[in-house]
Point group: C3
């Protein structure tokens, strides 16, 4: 049974692994800054950036997995990758001393909205299939696949 399951989630697992490695990278940065002891502001900046990233991490994971399970894993995993890139840019921008980047508290709102929309479409589609017998799943998957390309637009 498990290989059937793995077939439908392996892209999600890969994105999760990449996000875990990114978390480890962030944590290493924080630990290195904490050991130096001579730059209080830098440590606080890194620590704050890390905390903001970690605060939204469970939300991201939950939404990505729900979207992947309800509709289709390919666009969900793609949106996950986009989110990770946005997070990396946010963290690096937060660390920089120059005020070239003034990141807010939130980031990746567009990606998360897209994933939430995927979940809603997936559940709606399931309910349609159950109560009316009409299956738009193939159409929906095609549309979300196309829509996920729109996320690349900055």
């Amino acid at each position: 049974m498990l290989s059937i399951v793995v077939e439908h989630i392996f892209l999600l697992v890969i994105v999760t692994l990449i996000s875990v490695l990114q978390n480890a990278f962030f944590a290493t940065k924080v630990e290195r800054e904490g050991k130096e002891h001579n730059n209080k502001t830098a440590f606080e900046r890194v620590s704050c950036a890390n905390r903001n990233c970690m605060d939204s991490y469970p939300t991201f994971l939950a939404v990505m997995w729900c979207a992947g399970l309800c509709l289709n894993q390919a666009p969900a995993a793609f949106a996950g990758i986009i989110y990770l890139v946005a997070r990396q840019k946010y963290f690096v921008g937060y660390m920089g001393q120059t005020s070239q980047s003034t990141p807010g508290y939130l980031f990746g709102k567009r990606v998360l909205s897209f994933l939430i929309l995927m979940c809603i479409v997936g559940i709606f589609n399931y309910l349609l299939l159950r109560y009316f017998g009409s299956d738009y799943k193939d159409t929906m998957e095609m549309i979300t696949n196309a829509a996920s390309a729109l996320l690349l637009i900055p």
Copy 2:
């Protein structure tokens, strides 16, 4: 295969989505307070409330999904809704300047205990089914469905 899976988790997905929207609401509150800069205490209160909520969020998600997968999704999703209402009341109470509400560090203990109990019953039931061949699943589901109504009592 996926539509079979969606059938058993769609209520959990809906509750997860609502919790994500609530997280977004909390984060927006924190960001708005952070931008005003003139009220340090209010920002700290909101930030602290948000952090307490976020600290227990992965725990809540893990327990709710385990309970939903092991036993039945309907009471698990219902308990999840109750937990979200408790969290909303906690957050709003924490934000208020008046000391009408003095929330502690923990909240929603009763709901989480109920969900943990559901997990244990589900696993116990599976082990009984495996080693003794006796299936009390239907009885268990009926009892948990009834017990979840008790959560409404304040």
Copy 3:
């Protein structure tokens, strides 16, 4: 269908429940220290230890579940138990006033690396099975089962 699922995840659910109980234990410790009001340093130590534990909790859960779903639940659950023991030691060590233990920001790196490796092996194995038709799953499971015993070496 669900009892088939429960068969493959019940060990993971048990470990998740234990981790939730441990979280509750940590939170109770923090709340009790916070109520005493007379020992600021102790409260900060406990709060910091709790926050470090909570920061890495979603990462741990995600990796453990992925490893358990992709390859085999038994070694994943065993590694999870080892991680929980490491976390307990970390938390208790952080709380102690004596400097006998100077825990860093990170802990349980070895266990998490092992779980990540399990995920990668599982996905690799699935891809091999899909594109080449060769199934090394049994061999892989045997090796990971044996390797998980190595985690016990301090």
